[in-house]
């Protein structure tokens, strides 16, 4: 059953990624684009975990965890830049 469900899930998340990309391109303002990037990395984590289940491999866990950490730092840094015009004060 998983052989059919996992490709289906990949398609669904792919659609989510396309919608997010559309928002990223459309804007209209900077916070919208940051929010779209934030959603993109969350969806990337979901795809990685899904891929790990598909291949039955534990290796993708580390990558997903790293993306979670780095993505959060990136979002906060860019939002901080918008707020203050400076990242490290």
């Amino acid at each position: 059953m998983l052989d059919y469900v996992i490709p289906l899930c990949l398609v669904i998340i792919g659609m989510a990624l396309v919608l997010t990309m559309a928002r990223l391109i459309k804007g209209p303002d900077l916070p919208d684009r940051i929010l779209a990037l934030d959603t993109l990395y969350i969806n990337a984590i979901a795809i990685l975990v899904l891929f790990g289940v598909w291949l039955g491999s534990d290796l993708y866990f580390e990558a997903a965890l790293l993306i979670a950490v780095m993505g959060f730092i990136g979002t906060v840094a860019v939002a901080k830049y918008l707020l203050r015009g400076d990242i490290i004060e």
Binding site: P31, N43, F61
Partner: protein
């Protein structure tokens, strides 16, 4: 692997990806930034939560013993998603983004 475990994994995978899709749809079609903020902070986070639960069940029953470390991803996301949403909302308020005209109440000025 037993059939019902596979079914459970499939169910959680589908739920997770559907929630992620709902979050992305919210991000795409809602009219103003503050409303768009709701989609990703809640739905996408829970989407990853569903995926992680599915992965936990799958690896726990695939013969290498209990596997719980995926829980860390979900935990981390649940802690960080509200923080980044808060930062983005603050930035958006400072930039005085367009707010949907039906919104009642006003963001304050500080």
């Amino acid at each position: 692997m037993a059939f019902w475990i596979e079914a459970l994994v499939a169910l959680f995978l589908l739920l997770g990806s559907l929630f992620a899709l709902v979050g992305a749809i919210g991000l795409y079609r809602l009219p103003d930034f503050f409303m768009r903020l709701h989609g990703p902070t809640k739905a996408s986070t829970l989407g990853v939560g569903g995926m992680v639960i599915a992965s936990m069940i799958y690896f726990s029953f695939s013969g290498k013993g209990i596997s719980l470390h995926e829980l860390l991803i979900a935990l981390f996301l649940f802690i960080t998603a509200p923080v980044s949403a808060h930062m983005l909302a603050k930035a958006a308020m400072q930039q005085k983004l367009h707010i949907n005209k039906e919104t009642r109440g006003k963001p304050w000025e500080q």
